[in-house]
Symmetry: D2
Subunit: 385 residues, 4 copies
């Protein structure tokens, strides 16, 4: 349990997007400060000047470091000796590429919300930009920050499951089961292809499910067959997706993501079955990992308990039975980023065990979305990955 | 809560199969007698004479009504004035047709284990035989005997869910995750195409999932795409199946059945999402139905509680909080059969509310299996139903 | 898994009480026939002649073995060569003594509903009668028939928990949270001291909790302090009881039983904590026993799974994941009785592992009720047991 | 959902205790900064100079505001124009009085860990000091910061439960089931009467359960009877307590707290039963409140869902299905404190809805502990409150 101690002053953080009325920007701010790793000192929280000013004031950003233009901010912050070291990018998908590129070009680390971009072309361009920069690129697939997801990953990696045969991953919500109307800003851009990209549910939550599955299993999908649907009248992007998958090595899987599953709040879950054991993790009960050896008894492995491995324990703060939640998991992504950024400051070697989703994971997520769309247009034909 | 009273003497029952070492035969016997509707008076529990004799003696069948040949039994029982009125058929799948046909031909009601047959040709032949007979044909898709499955069906039927959009049905077990060897009689015939038919997991448990889904939703699938796999080396029949489905009216669904899901015992579950509400039922917690109206609060509707409808209440025996289980649900199929058989005795009209899986349901189950196999051979191409 | 085979003809059973409108009589009849151990052949289901006749006809008792007077039935059945071997006593508490005594005097085994009697004096008189008879006396504390209760008992007995420190037992219902009025026959006698005895909730369900706790832990309580309450206006018998307990050897416990716990159906649960491990069993999820070694991981031990001991496995019928419920547990008490009765027929030694609640357990239950009442009248003073 | 916006600069916070190796100090620091309400700027994290220095450096406190003596810190901080506005007191119980008094005397708000003090005399002295000061006193009974605890309170307050009859509250842990030895600093002082006070489990966790029960129900206990035990050899303070309670208005209750309940992590739960409904909340599943109207269906009311009241919604940050946990609940106490402190800055009226545990609640907690000890010494005699 690591996060209560040892740090050497917070990392100076900027933010693009996340102004008044936004949701995910606030989450990033909590995640950044929860463990004291970051201090928010600059921002272009809106592209509208007045709103940018009001939003920045609310979150304690000084007027002289308040911007309405991300490009200007990148340039001016880079020029300051106390300029930001990292920037959180929490704008709609289609803006990820230009914004991130501007900061990467200045050598400023980028912490970017998911999915990486709206299109695969953008994703590849962003990957190129990240690779060309010395700065780090962190993609906030926050679910992989949950300690018991790390526990699952660690157990799969050390062979507890044997050879994986079957993967079942699901992400069900109902918040878009009806047309939310124009008043809902978060819904509006997510259902608009121009800002969201090719995927609806697949892009917004399917990419989370995909990354979670890939992170825990370590498997590479080789092909998928997808049946996408837009159930709500007038919607152009998918709000429900059924996907079958085949993996290198012979495993098979199914992925379901939905924004129209009436009665479901944020039901992300992963089950993995191998020759030796099966595991199950559910985001709505995140402090427990169900582990059942073949022929054995189901165990409820709890966060921070003695049965856990170092893989999960390094990302917990408080004793077992004291629930940690979504914000702590999100903060873990920021914490991992912080450790890498600090090492980068001094050229120290990569800190042991530190890992976070990268631009490469982001490309794979967007590739998943585009493969789903392509397969579905082909009547669910198999698409190679 | 109905079953403790009002009956007019048990129905005389015979049994084919279910001798020493069998499992499902014992289940049928408990189900038949649990509510006092049936009395087992004759049987060909094995085709081996000595075993037939020993098995029959154990379950209290008189020596003069003990047979080793089902055809002989059908003929001789039909000739008795106190001959059996109904017969339970609990032999391997490939024997369902000849056995059932022999009794149907004598006007003896048939209560047959699932799946209906091993092949679609057999299934259609059996359907023809059933239609040609005045006797009733009952297929023991026992899961539809659970009161809360009936509750789900009743609520869907009265429109509580609105228009159905998404169906998720799963049936996961792990008992065939390894090669059970020859010693396991139940496993042996289920993994043998000659006796089991074209389907492995699809036939043995997929048909249950299929029937459950169809019973509750009332939807007709129009097409499916299936990816079948035999994970255990040397196995020819599928032990894991991933299926995507499309339904008349636009709903979509996924079905997963597996006999190799390490750590799962008998995890059959059904979730149905409509425009107005979602429901979930899990076989391992059968006394509760989760119901969540869109925008509302999840409710745990419990068996026999005041919130239940007549659809489920007529199939319960004891107050809420007193769990009923698998055997009671199985007995409900026998109970429904008994009411229909009693009505048939006197030519009375069909008793209100009585329903059970029929030969037509059985044909659809086998058609599902064959469609899965066909689709999978075509690389998961869509197959129309 | 034992009950599907090996028997030598059913035991001839009679019943006193359980006529039309009764609940528990029907439960006994299902329990008696579920495994084929008993055949109901005689009965005085009501003391009103017409109702006795109608009730008996409904359950298939022949007219010449239908009685309205239990004493007459005891005499006449004892005189028949095919007379009943055992009788189920399902009348209100105050009638247990005279009815049971009449049959014990004829050497007929008695299977009696709980609590043993309404008063301790009656209980002791019944114990004397049982001891003076060669017949067996079985008290249907049915919850101890659940396989996973047996599993708990077996694990405690073999020392898995170490020294027991704390016991928490609870039985919460809400069916008497309001005055049910005269129309509810089952409620009427249970809230009437003349028929029910000194205890209300303590007698009706507290005795179940007490027996469950004693059966699983093997501990002897040495003293209790009880705070009883009748919350519903006009009620004279307790409908809620809080009890603290001390045990031989130093363990401590709490017992709560209530008939006014709004929203609870039949929430009987037991938790036992020792120096090495803790266990929990909940009647509404009866197929699982939670076991947590100190410093270890919580395990969900499921009925019939490989992890179970012979102590529970001999009382299960079907594979893990196929829920067994209340009626199966009740039938297990009948099954244990059947094995003892069959051994008694021939003078065979007591069958290995067979156990059921006896008249001595019943006396202790009534002693518990009277101690609660006495303690509560003394302002929850400790009462020695 | 309130906490992502609108604030006017963080409140300057100091801390006493919470140096290297401490647990709860780190929790307070996270809670203080999670929503950006506080900035830690001064501290006496240890009374050992070197450790104080090292600990302060780790958490970013400047050397010139690092102290080893709380009295010196109170005096010097009070003298600075940028001195701390509030102080977090996270030292062992026996030090709460002198430390808090020193800061209250300077008009510095005190945020104090629970229990209030080790003795009732100290508690009353601290209450007098708090009342004599203009500064606020906040006691971190953090469990009442959980949104769904607020939801429970709001529902009880508006009469959803009718008249309360029965209260069941439990707090079970196992971390002191064995002698932890001297190495465990947190265990060492908690099992030492000189530092912890009269209560062991009763003081450390019983006071939490007591406060939770009182907060939600609004009931005043009038008397209790307690049976305390120290199970671990050599221990002088109780590690298990069984308590019966009577309330003004006729309700009855039971409280169990234990540090030796093998297999329990942090199992705090509260159930309240009234004439109209029952509710249940479990700390290990904090995002849900179970609500069951009498005669109705159990509802799972989830945090931030539409069914919730303003009472809980004002303390949530993120949408339903995104779990919030222990740290967020703790931060809610800090958030409530922040709002009251900001109002106090300007003399603004008390902010609507803001509430937190006070010194008076603390006195009642210590009175509970002393009443338990007194009752237990009197063989669980009733002690008036």
């Amino acid at each position: 349990m690591n996060r209560f101690a040892s740090r050497t002053g917070p990392i100076r953080l900027g933010m693009i997007g996340g102004g008044q009325g936004a949701m995910i920007g606030g989450v990033h701010r909590v995640a950044a400060r929860l463990d004291g790793h970051f201090e928010l000192v600059a921002g272009a929280l809106s592209s509208t000047e007045e709103k940018a000013r009001a939003s920045a004031a609310e979150v304690g950003i000084a007027p002289d470091r308040t911007y309405a233009d991300y490009a200007e901010m990148a340039a001016r912050e880079a020029a300051r000796t106390d300029g930001i070291e990292a920037v959180a990018v929490v704008v709609p998908n289609h803006m990820h590429l230009p914004v991130a590129r501007a900061f990467l070009a200045q050598g400023i680390h980028v912490i970017c919300d998911k999915p990486l971009t709206g299109t695969l072309a953008d994703a590849q361009a962003l990957k190129a930009a990240a690779e060309a920069s010395e700065a780090l690129f962190i993609l906030t697939h926050n679910y992989s920050g949950y300690p018991m997801v790390r526990e699952a990953q660690a157990r799969v990696a050390r062979g507890d499951l044997g050879d994986i045969r079957v993967v079942q991953v699901q992400y069900a919500q109902d918040w878009l089961a009806e047309d939310p109307g124009d008043g809902n800003k978060q819904a509006a851009w997510r259902t608009d292809p121009a800002r969201s990209g090719a995927g609806g549910a697949t892009g917004d939550i399917g990419t989370h499910a995909w990354q979670l599955m890939r992170f825990v299993t370590g498997l590479s999908p080789t092909a998928l067959a997808a049946d996408l649907q837009a159930f709500v009248p007038g919607r152009t992007l998918d709000d429900n997706a059924h996907v079958m998958m085949r993996f290198d090595g012979g495993a098979r899987g199914m992925l379901w993501c939905s924004q129209v599953a009436a009665g479901e709040e944020n039901a992300l879950s992963l089950r993995v079955y191998g020759t030796k054991a099966g595991i199950e993790w559910r985001q709505e009960e995140p402090n427990v990992l169900r582990v059942t050896p073949l022929g054995g008894t189901r165990q409820f492995v709890t966060r921070a308990s003695r049965a856990t491995t170092e893989g999960s324990r390094r990302l917990t703060r408080i004793p077992p039975g004291h629930p940690e939640g979504f914000l702590e998991a999100f903060a873990n992504i920021y914490g991992e980023a912080a450790q890498a950024i600090r090492a980068a400051r001094t050229g120290a070697p990569w800190p042991e065990g530190v890992t976070f989703p990268t631009v490469a994971d982001g490309v794979e997520g967007v590739a998943f979305v585009e493969a789903c769309v392509r397969s579905s247009r082909g009547d669910a034909a198999w698409v190679a990955l």
